[in-house]
């Protein structure tokens, strides 16, 4: 059974400018030229996305590509000009203010690029804030807040103020705060972009560890293609407000839809994207310990090259489904693209 769709948007447009609505009424599907002629700015153009439950969905684009606008349309922080945003089969765009507040209080969490911590509250008070405003009983709120603070590894710093923490720690507070209401849907808007590279790496690992435990449905925004590849189940690439391609990291590397996408994938070491399953030879061979087919080639390249015989590959249930040998790995590492 395919996983259920948690969040989807259909034909979402966000145009800025005085004539935005009229333009979409007269021409429901304007081209870039139409938009320019009408004197409006197309921040998001005809976005169609389906995000499955439990999936890490990354929206990748450079600055100005409309990715932040799109995620704000998905959470209705920005009112899309036209379109439909379905969350668990409710249309967010027709929800009343009251319904929207309820949904946000219980079902959504969001992490921000610059943390967005309230400067006048301590770590614990910040984390508790979403519970405080929905008048959760003090004791319960306290317990929950302590729990998530511990989850993100900030135990012992509950009474610090945000400015007393490092960037990485502040973002941990942001993460804890967004999780305290136990939301189903988790938005992360460039959560690690403001951190320096070493901390970023550490936080990415932390994030994957958290997701392993929590299984949220995640919409993750980034401008860093490497980060996208590392974290994503699927990636949507945006340029000039248009979603150019939605695919798994592997598909993106193997079959970029446009030259623009290829431009990104070119510089990514393919061994870090391709999985063993993608380059194995089908059919069971070999007797050594099997490698899981979802493993990235780079993680096991050394072992395969050192081995004399092909190594078996197993699927998620442990069944051997194929094998991989030196030659396949060498081709991934040194070849020029035409694998598989």
């Amino acid at each position: 059974m395919p996983p259920k769709t948690k969040l989807s948007c259909r034909n979402v447009w966000k145009l800025y400018g005085p004539n935005a609505e009229r333009l979409l009424k007269t021409t429901p599907n304007p081209t870039a030229d139409d938009i320019r002629k009408a004197g409006v700015i197309g921040a998001v153009r005809n976005a169609n996305i389906e995000i499955a439950e439990g999936e890490i969905f990354v929206i990748m684009g450079l600055s100005g590509s409309g990715k932040s606008t799109l995620v704000r349309c998905l959470s209705r922080l920005i009112e899309p000009t036209t379109g439909e945003v379905l969350f668990d089969d409710t249309d967010l765009l027709t929800a009343s203010d009251k319904e929207l507040i309820e949904i946000r209080r219980h079902k959504m969490g969001m992490v921000f690029q610059h943390f967005a911590l309230l400067p006048h509250l301590t770590v614990l008070q910040n984390v508790m804030f979403p519970l405080t405003i929905q008048a959760t009983p003090q004791a319960e709120a306290n317990a929950k807040a302590h729990e998530v603070v511990e989850l993100v590894g900030l135990k012992g710093r509950e009474d610090y103020y945000p400015r007393e923490l490092s960037g990485g720690q502040q973002q941990r507070v942001g993460i804890a705060r967004s999780l305290v209401t136990e939301p189903d849907l988790w938005f992360l808007d460039e959560p690690f972009s403001a951190l320096d590279p070493l901390i970023r790496r550490e936080m990415q690992d932390e994030f994957l560890r958290l997701q392993e435990r929590l299984h949220k449905t995640i919409v993750f925004i980034t401008h860093d293609f490497e980060e996208a590849v590392r974290l994503a189940d699927r990636i949507a690439i945006m340029k000039d407000g248009v979603v150019i391609q939605i695919a798994t990291p592997e598909e993106l590397v193997m079959h970029p839809a446009t030259d623009y996408v290829a431009e990104f994938t070119k510089h990514i070491p393919r061994s870090k994207v391709l999985t063993v399953g993608g380059v194995m030879t089908a059919g069971a061979v070999g007797e050594e310990d099997p490698i899981a087919q979802s493993t990235r080639v780079s993680d096991v390249a050394e072992r395969i090259i050192a081995a004399d015989a092909p190594i078996p590959v197993s699927d998620s249930s442990g069944q051997i489904v194929g094998s991989i040998d030196r030659k396949a790995v060498a081709q991934v590492l040194f070849g020029d693209g035409d694998v598989a």
Binding site: R104, R105, F112, L118, P119, P130, T132, I133, Q134, D159
Partner: protein, 663 residues
């Protein structure tokens, strides 16, 4: 020398024609037998004054909505302000009394000077450290020792009432303006006008509505001190990181929760800047408010000024400054503390609030023991010091020995600087002047600005105040020229030389904390009444922004540009002339703009020393309680301010666009 392009030549020629026309304007109009060219015929004047006065009379006497008349509303407002004011006044100054007049019995005396001083010291220590505690303690001890205590407490009481109302009201209005753009569009020009109309102009209507007395003074003070708070609130809320706003909404806050639990606390640091502004403006108003019935230090200064008693005036003036410094530093430290991290101490209420406990114990002690020793309640008069005689002697000495020097300086400035400007301005035929202003507006900011300049100038003309307006422009213009000539080089020096910078900053800080009236006293004593005295007072008052903005402009020239200049082999002088000054020009222009605004607001005050401009008109209106006359003259000053402000801002904007600092 760069060659002038065509439009520059045209401008230069027009300016020259204007000056020549002005200089020979009177003779010309006589020769042409067209006196109306320089003197607007009184038959053409539209009597705005009379309209406003009768509207005001109608408002006070007849206006009513159903059974509630307008006077009922003003009385209700007055009552609301009066209650807390009387409480604080009794607490600080008069004590709680029963009975009236001579039968009055003091039930509980006012808080003892010892308690007040201890309280401010404790507050200083709480807000920052012992250094601040010592400073504010010294300020209040000064007030006691120099015999200013009673007046100072009356003033402090009005500050304690005006500041919360001004700051709270400003906050609410600012929030409304933030929430509803329509409201902002309405209130923004009103605030503009309120800040440019000299305060004197609306003292008259307030006097009508609330009568002579401390309540009127408080209302005037609140009206004067609130506008910046409204603006700062709106700006501070708009300045909150958009991510914080997004977070608040994503957390599912209601509108009210978003405002009071997310936005306002996040903006609290900037909001405290607004509160500080309210405090400073309230103290600025102390003297002016005493013209419509506020007692305290302001009244002392005003009375001394009327008697030309320099010593007494100076002492009371300094007392205002001392009080202002104490309150200002305390409020700034408090704001800083709010922005800082501090961890709540644990323990019982008493151990957490040691300072409060100490002050309360002292309060009770002085009240009880005060029955036996009045020394504990009131600072003994016999122990006060006065320096009045010293100041009187100093001025007398200077006058006796250097009279000729002062006179020579005065005559020199009058003959070679002030009178020529005055002649030219008064001589320019008004049709030409309005045409030129319109043209200037069009050149600087398109037809809207042209319409504004032409329209406002015409309004001044038809209200019959043209020549008074020209005297205003002359006094203001001469002062601004002088302030710029002195201030900009000082600012440049302050920016380039660290040691000079410290000294200049100190000077400017001192000048700015002195209430505007205080400048007048010594200048009047040395140069007697007249335009030159007004000029000096205005220059002193309006110098600060010219210096500040110039220094800031020079300092904020990008480091890279300086390095580029150095690498190209610029000498220090070339660096200044070709890089620093041109890049700082927009800032310098803004500084001059502020200087003009301050000069115009000082004009009304200098009316006290006998100028013949719009300020005098406003002042006379106040003494005669003539609403229409005061408002029309006040609005005329506001129009001049608005024209100057818009023209200069447009100019600064053009300069910034040329440098690519703004698009």
């Amino acid at each position: 020398m760069t060659r002038l392009n065509r439009s520059q030549i045209i401008i230069l020629v027009l300016v020259l024609i204007t000056i020549v026309l002005g200089y020979y304007g009177r003779d010309l109009s006589k020769a042409l037998d067209a006196r109306w060219l320089t003197k607007f015929p009184s038959a053409w004047v539209i009597p705005f004054k009379a309209y406003i006065s009768s509207a005001m009379a109608w408002l006070i006497e007849d206006a009513a909505v159903g059974p509630v008349s307008f006077t009922d509303i003003t009385r209700a407002i007055a009552w609301l302000i009066e209650q807390p004011y009387n409480l604080v006044l009794a607490l600080l100054a008069h004590g709680f009394v029963s009975g009236q007049g001579n039968d009055a019995q003091v039930i509980v005396p006012a808080v003892s000077w010892i308690v007040v001083i201890t309280a401010v010291i404790a507050l200083g220590q709480y807000c920052r450290d012992w250094g601040l505690a010592a400073l504010v303690g010294a300020c209040f001890i000064y007030l006691a020792v120099f015999g200013q205590w009673d007046s100072a407490m009356v003033t402090l009481a009005s500050v304690l009432i005006a500041v919360p109302i001004g700051a709270g009201g400003g906050l609410l209005l600012g929030i409304l303006a933030y929430r509803y753009p329509l409201f902002e569009n309405i209130i923004s020009p009103v605030l503009d006008l309120m800040q440019t109309i000299p305060i004197f102009a609306y003292l008259v209507p307030i006097l009508f509505m609330f009568g002579f007395g401390p309540i009127s003074a408080l209302v005037a003070t609140i009206i004067y001190a609130t506008p910046p708070m409204v603006r700062i609130t709106t700006l501070a809320l708009k300045g909150v990181d958009p991510e914080i706003l997004d977070f608040g909404r994503m957390a599912g806050t209601t509108q009210r929760q978003l405002m009071w639990r997310v936005l306002v606390p996040s903006a609290s640091h900037s909001l405290m800047v607004g509160v500080n502004q309210v405090i400073m403006l309230t103290l600025n108003m102390v003297i002016i408010a005493s013209m419509i019935g506020a007692g305290g230090l302001g009244f002392d200064v005003l009375a001394a000024l009327r008697r030309l008693d320099i010593g007494a005036g100076f002492e009371a003036g300094i007392a205002i400054v001392v009080l202002a410094i104490a309150v200002d530093r305390l409020s700034q430290a408090f704001a800083e503390r709010m922005g800082q991290v501090y961890h709540e101490a644990s323990g019982s209420w008493v151990s957490r609030n040691r300072r409060t406990v100490l002050v309360l114990i002292l309060l009770v002690l002085t009240w009880v023991l005060g029955q036996f020793s009045p020394l504990l309640l009131e600072y003994p008069d016999s122990q006060t010091i006065t320096t009045g005689a010293f100041w009187d002697d100093t001025v007398e000495y200077l006058n006796v020995n250097y009279f000729d020097t002062f006179e020579a300086i005065k005559v020199f400035f009058l003959t070679w600087f002030m009178i020529p400007i005055k002649t030219v301005l008064l001589g320019i035929p008004w049709p030409w002047a309005i045409a030129m202003l319109t043209l200037l507006g069009w050149q600087a900011g398109g037809w809207r600005l042209a319409l504004l300049c032409g329209g406002m100038a015409s309004l001044i003309l038809v209200s019959g105040l043209w020549s008074k307006a020209m005297v205003t422009v002359y006094l203001c213009g001469a002062s601004v020229i002088l302030a710029t000539v002195i201030g900009v080089p000082l600012g440049v020096l302050a920016a380039l030389n660290k040691r000079a910078g410290t000294a200049i900053n100190l000077l400017i800080d001192t000048l700015q904390t002195l209430p505007s009236f205080v400048y007048l006293i010594p200048v009047v004593m040395l140069f007697r009444v007249g335009d030159f005295t007004a000029l000096i007072a205005i220059v002193l008052y309006a110098l600060a922004p010219a210096v500040r903005y110039a220094a800031h402009g020079i300092r904020s020239v990008s480091e890279e540009l300086i390095e580029a200049g150095l690498v190209s082999g610029c000498t220090r002088r070339q660096l200044l002339r070709h890089i620093r000054l041109p890049m700082a020009l927009p800032e310098i222009l803004l500084g001059i703009n502020q200087t003009i605004m301050l000069a115009l607001s000082m004009l009304v005050i200098t009316a006290l020393v006998g100028t013949r401009d719009l300020g005098q008109e406003v002042y006379i209106a106040l003494t005669k309680a003539d609403t229409g006359r005061g408002l029309v003259a006040g609005l005329s000053i506001a129009f001049i301010a608005i024209i100057a402000d818009r023209l200069i801002n447009a100019g600064a904007r053009q300069a910034r666009i040329r440098f690519g600092l703004e698009s």
